[in-house]
């Protein structure tokens, strides 16, 4: 018998049973025709299933973090049924990706949505503490002007029922006082699509309906739409959770490039993704900010035991 044949033996369950019985009773028997069962005998190191992917290539060499864009001071958010966020203080800088991680219900999405005052859409929400955008309290700013500077991408891609061009130009048209002409908008739209990594795929189809795009393309379109008016901060609520792995990888690369000009805050429940893309990490648990530091610190040298447990996958 060759070594390979020692690894795999195809026998049927009936035959296995018979063999046992035969071994016990010392007889041999013919086996009937039943589907075989593979029993694998492992005696050497496992082969890796796929070659190691270029994870490290997602994050280019880190330069110095830019100026502080958003500062959260002692934020509290309370909904009628529960308290979502209890006293969180953070700092968000340009040039950095901040990942908000934590199990479901820990308040990370509520925290994200409070950064552009989207929590106000929920009736009965109350808040405490301050959030400063470039030094201005965001609750003193007009909500429409705030959201022109702090953009958001949602979990489910939500392109509007219009053409691709109209989607990306949407915010540009709405934020200008006069109706801009298409010739004025076109370079901005093309630039946004380029920065979102979608231009090459749709350059000939700008007037086709946006809803015809695939899921990954739609999400990149939403990113293009969000960054077209050149916001200062980009908030992303689990942007890849509804997408396939290839689109996920594309968008993670995108995030790496976008953070040069923006501050990016990403909520994710995927720890591996956080490890791939984050510069700073904030770990929340049931509304408390348990740990906040650089990615290297939080993932490899966490100070809190709960962080260590979560990062190792002990709970989720």
């Amino acid at each position: 018998m060759t070594p390979e044949s020692m690894l795999l033996e195809e026998i049927s369950p009936a035959e296995a049973r018979d063999r046992d019985q035969d071994r016990d009773s010392g007889r041999t028997r013919r086996s009937p025709a039943v589907p075989p069962v593979r029993t694998i005998v492992v005696d050497r190191a496992p082969l890796p299933v796929a070659p190691p992917d270029d994870r490290e290539a997602v994050r280019p060499s880190r330069g110095a973090a830019g100026p502080e864009r958003l500062r959260v001071e002692d934020l509290r958010i309370k909904f009628p049924e529960r308290e979502a966020v209890k006293s969180v203080s953070l700092s968000i800088h340009q040039g950095e990706v901040l990942a908000l991680i934590g199990p479901s219900g820990c308040g990370k999405t509520s925290l994200l949505r409070s950064l552009n005052r989207l929590t106000e859409l929920t009736p009965g929400a109350s808040r405490g503490g301050r959030i400063l955008l470039d030094g201005d309290d965001i609750h003193e700013l007009e909500d429409t002007k705030l959201r022109a500077r702090v953009a958001m991408v949602f979990q489910q891609p939500n392109p509007f029922p219009m053409s691709i061009f109209d989607n990306v130009a949407f915010a540009l048209r709405e934020q200008s006082r006069k109706r801009p002409r298409r010739s004025e908008l076109e370079p901005l739209v093309v630039d946004a699509l380029r920065r979102a990594g979608l231009y090459e795929e749709v350059r000939d189809e700008l007037d086709k309906p946006a809803l015809r795009l695939s899921g990954g393309q739609q999400q990149r379109l939403c990113i293009a739409r969000a960054i077209a008016p050149r916001p200062e901060v980009l908030l992303m609520d689990e942007p890849c959770s509804a997408l396939d792995p290839i689109s996920t990888k594309t968008i993670e690369q995108l995030i790496g490039e976008l953070r040069r000009e923006l501050a990016v805050v990403v909520v994710t429940h995927n720890l591996a993704q956080a490890q791939r893309i984050a510069d700073k990490v904030a770990f929340m648990y049931l509304g408390d900010l348990v740990e906040y530091g650089t990615a290297a610190d939080v993932f490899h040298a966490p100070r809190a035991e709960r962080t260590r447990d979560y990062v190792r996958g002990a709970f989720g």
Binding site: N116, L118, L121, D143, T144, K145, L146, R147, A148, A151, M152, F154, Q156, N158, F160, P161, M162, S163, F170, A171, E174, Q175, P209, L211, C222, R225, A226, P229
Partner: protein, 327 residues
């Protein structure tokens, strides 16, 4: 035989029976179109298509038909129904766009702007309005609106300006259009509100997250998303407005008159008659062959426009579906 009927039926027999009954519906509709066309044929035969055109006084033509014998000469069939067509186009053409604007704005008001208590009051009241019989609208029109318009809105100068041609009593185009608008708006509101409520919330959130105020979010995104529903509502409203006979007959004045735009604002007060209301007004003479045939011709016209409307509505919605994510 009795056993055959009472024991459980096999499927194919049940299917045939149900199919036959369903076919009956199709047969009835086909019969309707055929019979109306057959009875309308004499008028079309004698006038050609110019029965739709202008030329003379429709009322006089109808009374001539009514007075004729049981076997009238071909000349009696002479009909130029343009005043009726014009009246139909005028009333429907003003009421439907007006109702569309009112319905869209009211739907936005109900869904977005109204405080909760007002909304709880408005929704059932508007639904009730949608099922009020047209004769009640006509009654209110003729007993309340017509005297009001006749006594308080039309001035004696207005009456004097047209007194050689027509007498202004208050019953006329204005009251007809106003009541028609009020009649067709509730159905449109119901359809549009339902459509607005079923637009996914994600679009509204996305628009607000891009820095739009809530009203602008509705106007720019949600209204685009409900365009098929708005088209469907408009088609439905037009069909209803075209076929409204009783109410129009009660408030539009009893003359087949074409309101003249050259009279300026007074044209609104001039009487008018639509194709549908003409059928009601002249129903008693339907036994006279020429008059009966004319009325059936008008009915054929109404039937034809109802068919065109449903096909047209379907065609308009087709390109709009390109941009929708859902049906």
């Amino acid at each position: 035989m009795r056993e055959r009927l009472l024991s459980p039926w096999p499927d194919h027999r049940a299917e045939r029976l149900l199919g036959a009954v369903s076919l009956l519906v199709g047969a009835i509709v086909t019969a309707m179109i055929v019979f109306v066309a057959v009875h309308a044929w004499p008028t079309i035969e004698h006038n050609g298509l110019s029965w739709l055109g202008p030329g003379g006084n429709v009322d006089e033509q109808f009374s001539r038909m009514q007075a004729a014998s049981a076997h009238p000469a071909p000349a009696v069939y002479h009909l130029r129904a343009w005043p009726l067509i014009y009246g139909t186009l005028l009333t429907t053409g003003i009421a439907v766009p007006l109702a569309l604007v009112v319905a869209v704005l009211t739907s936005i008001f109900i869904v977005e702007l109204a405080p909760a208590r007002l909304r709880a009051f408005a929704v059932p009241v508007i639904r009730l309005l949608a099922s009020v019989p047209s004769v009640i609208y006509g009654l209110l029109g003729v007993l309340v609106l017509v005297p009001f318009v006749g006594n308080h809105i039309i001035s004696s100068a207005d009456k004097a300006s047209v007194q050689n041609t027509v007498e202004l009593t208050g019953a006329g185009l204005l009251v007809t259009v106003v009541i028609l608008t009020v009649m067709i708006t509730p159905i449109m509101i119901a359809l549009i509100c339902e459509a607005l409520a079923s637009v996914p919330n994600s679009w509204r959130e996305g628009a607000i997250a891009l820095g739009l105020n809530p009203l602008r979010a509705i106007l720019a995104v949600t209204l685009r998303a409900v365009r098929p529903a708005i088209v469907a509502a408009a088609v439905l409203a037009t069909a209803r407005a075209l076929g409204e006979a009783i109410m129009v007959s009660m408030v539009s004045g009893s003359r087949s008159f074409s309101p003249r735009p050259s009279d300026g604002i007074v044209a609104l007060f001039e009487p008018v008659r639509t194709a549908a209301s003409a059928i009601v007004d002249f129903r008693e003479g339907i036994a006279a062959p020429a008059l009966g045939s004319s009325l059936y011709a008008l009915a054929l016209l109404l039937l034809f426009s109802a068919l065109v409307l449903s096909v047209g509505g379907y065609l308009i919605k087709l390109p709009l579906r390109r941009y929708q994510g859902q049906a």
